[in-house]
Symmetry: C2
Subunit: 435 residues, 2 copies
């Protein structure tokens, strides 16, 4: 009897037909004279039932995760959780010899109690579990929405080098490498390059890895992460960047909602809906925190600490029903040398907080060579080390600015993950270089 | 009088109106009582004419590339090459003090005679010239088409780490770095990670940088480049990969043709049109080259040299009117340990040649742990060094394979550039680490 190759998602429209399914035997229950196999393919899962003794005998001992080719008939089933199933008349093992996996990835209750270490040590395996896959399907949707929205707004995608000769902020926290006998570094951000490209394309974006040799080992830090950057020219102030980002975030959230409804449901979350995002100046936020929100700041009074960010977002969630909040007007001293100052010593910069975590930093940049050089000198940086960067400013740069979104942080906050490490396929932190 | 902010591309629909244009003064011709300024913004160029003596006096000495805000009326012009122009009544300089650029980027004849060194040393400036910008607009279109096509084919975008603990091919040509006291490397390819992800998503793709510490300094080599990778599960042979790539390439070329007509015209090229792409086994290609095409191969008889690739493509362009050609069945010995062998000691692998240059390498992979281990041992590699990679094969991997397209090489071949270095914004080669 002929069979038609289908994906699990298509099963409803093949009732009564003989089909072929290729996938992983995600879970195997062998009841002796009856066998149930949950087969997972790229579109989802299907229940396969085997009642033929010869086939059961042959498939007996099938390890979970084995790759299989199932042939059989699509039938309606009395079971509510799997109203359509495949009655197999043939099971072919496509993998080599397989072992019983050390982690039961098909049981969410087991996955929920797995330690972070086990989750990451067995990453090639744990990445196959449905809820872990959902994280990265959402992440891919975010990336797609970011790139396609900005392309629609006449931004051009760029790829800047990650092997660089200078740090963007004076040399701290850089990974060093030997480049044919020269000292080189891994780029902390595409900052200088995306600014240079404003001179060429006016609007550019980049999706790429960035590197921070920071010793932090927290739920919010990674040593290698994906930065979603954009930079745009001919702006009036940071407000043009914020306006663009608000449209961008709406598009990203709408795209995730449209393409990943099942994934959002697995995490019991909804995407934020908003017409605008409230803004608060940093000093106003600090004032509010001190006077109304019982904040006990640490010794650094120029910025918010994580606890301050959390309290502030909690307050705005309750008072204004918003998960998103811009903080603006950071003091110049806590921003990089290229930040555009305001008349009163602050800067045209901002952070976007999302459910208590900074997911974006951005701002208007200085666009005059002489002001950049002065700002470098004020911070003890040598303009000679920035010759290439300064080149484009000597020949005319428009007022411009941009921002960077941490892809993993945005994923973490959207899905409510306990740590950003769970939003990376193969995270790199101080102690982890494998798998 | 009120003015409306427009982009240069919109000028035709504003004849008779007063407009505002923001851009770079790409070229400035000061005739004393008349001044012409070519203003470039993100959508193109507009001719601005100034006949008001006071404004000319103010704008006199304006350096090319200065960022300006022009206000004026859109008028029809007697000039054929600029049938609509802006008669300026106000010119505001937005940049700081600017210098006369050392390279006349608005004159294509000057750009054409520029040395490669000058082209790359003055990159922040040369990237602004129209024909250089065109290269990267086409490149961005290729990237967008790649990602969107594969997303439509149910591939999931991944981001794999670029800081890794092992090389994919045994340790040669790796950049080394110190990772918190441990030895680490920059990834030569996302190979292992994309294979692991086949277990999770069945179909994945990645757009990201890869690193080769090769000493070559040629028109086809880069030490950092962007690799367009995909990997897919449940294939029968390399033919499934080739079939997918043919659809992909058609989509990429169609998208470039649709979105970049002016850019293609600047280079005087058309995208290839084809219904399929011819295939030749490597040994057949060698036979043809030796017997019919007067090929004098170098000492390495297992592969083609660049001259062989060139002669072969020239022959197929003439004989079969095709710019694209697959070579298949490379000897196992010239492919990595993970290549799937054929019964006769060759491999299920292929290269795609495009106008004489390899732009893709791909193939089916071994998917059984025991066969991978045997293949490692045959090459003197220690399976212990590949523990993480082997993990996913122990728990069941489907037959799978994939390929990698060099983004810069594809761009180079499509536009007919003399060297791949011109298809990188800021290239890295043996001697170049800046800008």
């Amino acid at each position: 009897m002929q069979s038609v190759a289908i994906q699990s998602q298509q099963i409803q429209s093949h009732i009564g037909e003989r089909v072929e399914l290729k996938g992983h035997a995600q879970a195997v229950r062998d009841l002796g004279n009856l066998m149930f196999i949950t087969v997972r393919d790229r579109t989802g899962c299907v229940q396969v039932v085997v009642d033929d003794k010869a086939i059961i005998a042959k498939a007996s001992g099938l390890s979970p995760e084995t790759a299989v080719l199932i042939k059989g008939s699509v039938v309606q089933s009395p079971q509510k959780n799997a109203p359509v199933e495949v009655r197999a008349d043939s099971i072919e093992v496509l993998s080599g010899e397989t072992e019983v996996p050390p982690v039961e990835i098909s049981k969410q209750s087991k996955m929920d109690t797995l330690s972070l270490t086990a989750m990451l040590d067995y990453r090639p395996l744990t990445l196959r579990s449905p809820k872990v896959r959902a994280i990265f399907k959402v992440q891919a949707a975010i990336g797609r929405a970011f790139a396609n929205f900005l392309t629609g707004e006449e931004f051009v995608e760029i790829h800047s080098p990650k092997i660089v000769s200078t740090g963007t902020e004076g040399g701290a926290n850089l990974f060093k490498l030997d480049y044919f006998g020269k000292q080189a570094f891994l780029a902390q951000s595409p900052q200088f390059y995306k600014q240079m490209m404003v001179g060429a394309f006016e609007r550019v974006f980049e999706v790429g890895p960035v590197y921070r040799a920071e010793e932090h080992d927290t739920t919010r830090h990674l040593n290698e992460y994906v930065s979603l950057d954009f930079e745009m020219g001919f702006i009036e102030s940071e407000q043009d960047l914020i306006a663009m980002q608000i449209k961008l975030m709406k598009h990203i959230f709408a795209h995730v909602e449209e393409t990943c409804p099942a994934e959002l449901e697995m995490f019991g979350v909804k995407v934020p809906k908003f017409s605008t995002i409230p803004q608060l100046k940093l000093h106003e936020a600090q004032e509010l925190l001190r006077t109304k929100l019982n904040w006990k700041p640490g010794p650094d009074t120029t910025d918010l600490d994580p606890e301050g960010e959390r309290l502030l977002c909690q307050h705005f969630a309750e008072a204004e029903n918003t998960d998103l909040l811009y903080l603006t007007h950071y003091p110049r001293s806590v921003r990089p040398f290229y930040a555009m100052p305001t008349a009163d010593g602050l800067s045209h910069s901002f952070d976007l907080l999302y459910k208590g975590l900074e997911v974006t930093t951005g701002g208007q940049r200085l666009h005059k060579a002489e002001e950049l050089i002065e700002s470098m000198r004020m911070r003890g940086l040598d303009p000679e080390s920035f010759t290439d960067y300064l080149q484009c400013f000597r020949y005319g740069m428009p007022p411009h600015g941009g921002l960077a979104i941490g892809l993993e942080r945005l994923t973490k906050q959207l899905l409510g993950l306990p740590t950003v490490k769970l939003a990376v396929l193969f995270p790199r932190d101080r102690n982890r270089l494998t798998p």
